[in-house]
Symmetry: C2
Subunit: 355 residues, 2 copies
């Protein structure tokens, strides 16, 4: 049985859900995977920070209604966030980065990851920023320090599309992908097919909590663009920055345009895609496309996400699943920790057996 | 660079496609995965057998039109099959079992696997028989002999659903699945939705080579039943034999019934499924079901296959891809060999480094 001490950076919905999973699922993880999780530190801009080397009862974290600076009420707690000290000094094996995604330069999350790796901590993150802007640098740094860096939740929350493509499709000749990677815009398109204007559909998404007050990132494709960059770099060996990818959203589409498409047996979908051409060059884009009903992404409805991978030996293989959700995204962190655990077992267990 | 010597048992479409992939893709596999494949033996009821310790040029195997007993024309070749000698004595690291699937008791493929494992060979197979009837016994035997046993291609050809569910969904609380696991019957249902009778749709499938002269296994659900047994045992820990699973096919359905369903926003699909109930008991069945259009399997058309996995933390996650095809199924064997290779690296490399 391996125990991993976790330092949680950010305590919004995702890391709170992770704490709930630690509370609810540790016994199942022990039985199924042979690992135990122990939260030893949390740092959050709003609640403050707490370090507790023997571990913090996850129920104390999730069942208490903390106010601003409220972590000061915990043993080892302070009212200020202090991410740097927590990352560098808390006795954690794994730093869990789940702060906000900055869409301009990925900071301060990139710095958080860098600090953690340089301090010899594995890093798991659901944050698109560090992965879209600095995956290459951070991977080299992690390799140099002999630690793991995993980010399954940066695309499609806990639906394990990165690991599916990288591991289980290995050797199949992956040369491109097309995805519906933003549930908010897909929900809005569905409502527009039912006759609502873009503005009315957006309001309904906002009322349901599916769209933020400023919906730009979702409806103009910026969120999808980060995911396309992550996948193109990770799966096709591209070296894109977000500014390299052409991006067009859905706000200019009209119910009339969607109705015309329906009459032609087609549906408009916001598609993020990349493909490698015969000369090895990789082309990526985010744009609404009118796709035929037989297309594997045409039946993806509501807030669901999906990616079709194009491969030489299997043709098209599609994974459909949740693209958001607190618990779903927290599961991505669990799956990342499992991946790190299994890499560790592979690296150490046989030698111990041989000794 | 690791080189694996292969003995191919059966030289029908799948192992012939594997030989083609060895010929075409060895360079890519070397570069991408760090392994090389070398065919050292083939045995087939029709063509005979050949053993060649230094390897057989895969193009000689795939580009020659052999007649019955034709392997006798090769160096080290004989006109009779001699599976037992080839499996036990050829200098292979991996035995590739791709003979016919016997739906009554899984033989002689089970015996082939047993011989191979007892001779210290890894086994990869696309054959449903050994997996549906004897996975438990063969896994114990493989563990005892320290060899790998992989069978991704026994369900949905090369679409890696077994590895997806077992590995990348680990820890998600998988508790059931529903699948469209037979492309022939799904193709026939599509034609019946377009107004054909069952008999006319079946004839069209036969003319296209999608259905065999005796279509019983496809249209009465027997093929799906083997796959449900494999998945339920592998993913849910059931201990089913094929006779334990209730099985109903599609031959009794009428275009009228499909038309009624369409009027209700539903489609008839042949669904193979299993789920674990609250008390831990596993229920499995194969039957046509009328599912609503929003169901993740409702949009699966033609000969395509799909499985929706039900999980506690992610809800439903669906993988859609090819369910048949020579190259697609041969890729399953490649993916199995990669899995064995990676397990071997994990087991040996760190110790060598430590030494």
């Amino acid at each position: 049985m391996a125990t991993y001490n976790l330092a949680l950076i950010g305590f919004g919905g995702v890391n709170r859900a992770l704490a709930e999973l630690v509370s609810r699922k540790n016994a199942a993880l022990e039985k199924e995977v042979g690992l135990r999780l122990n939260i030893v530190a949390v740092s959050d801009l709003h609640y403050g920070s707490v370090v507790s080397p023997n571990g913090i009862d996850p129920r104390a974290l999730t069942e208490t209604r903390f106010s601003k600076g409220g972590f000061a009420s915990l043993s080892g707690g302070r009212s200020d966030a202090d991410n740097e000290r927590v990352i560098k000094e808390a006795p954690a094996d794994i730093v869990v980065e789940a702060t906000f995604t900055d869409r301009v330069n990925g900071e301060p999350a990139i710095t958080h990851c860098r600090w953690a790796i340089e301090a010899g901590r594995h890093v798991v993150t659901t944050n698109k920023g560090p992965v879209a802007f600095a995956a290459r640098e951070l991977k080299l740094l992690a390799a140099a320090h002999g630690v793991g860096l995993e980010y399954e939740g940066s695309v499609m929350s806990g639906t394990p599309v990165i690991r599916f493509a990288k591991r289980t499709l290995l050797g199949s000749g992956l040369n491109g992908f097309e995805g519906i990677l933003n549930g908010t815009s897909n929900f809005i398109l569905g409502k527009m097919e039912a006759g609502l204007t873009f503005d009315a559909a957006l309001r309904e998404a906002q009322e349901l909590g599916l769209a933020e007050a400023d919906p730009t990132a979702d409806v103009e494709g910026h969120d999808v663009r980060l995911k396309v960059v992550i996948l193109a770099n990770e799966l096709l060996g591209a070296e894109f920055s977000p500014r390299d990818v052409v991006c067009k959203g859905i706000s200019h589409l009209t119910p009339a345009a969607l109705s015309v498409a329906a009459g032609e047996g087609k549906r408009w979908k916001l598609i993020g895609s990349a493909k490698r051409d015969e000369r090895g060059k990789i082309h990526a884009s985010v744009e609404p496309r009118s796709i035929p009903l037989v297309h594997p992404l045409a039946g993806v409805n509501g807030a669901t996400n999906a990616i079709s991978f194009q491969t030489e030996l299997l043709g098209s293989v599609t994974v459909t699943g949740p693209g958001a959700g607190r618990t779903e995204t927290a599961y991505a962190l669990i799956s990342d920790i499992i991946a790190i655990h299994q890499a560790n077992i592979g690296a150490t267990k046989p030698c111990k057996e041989a000794a």
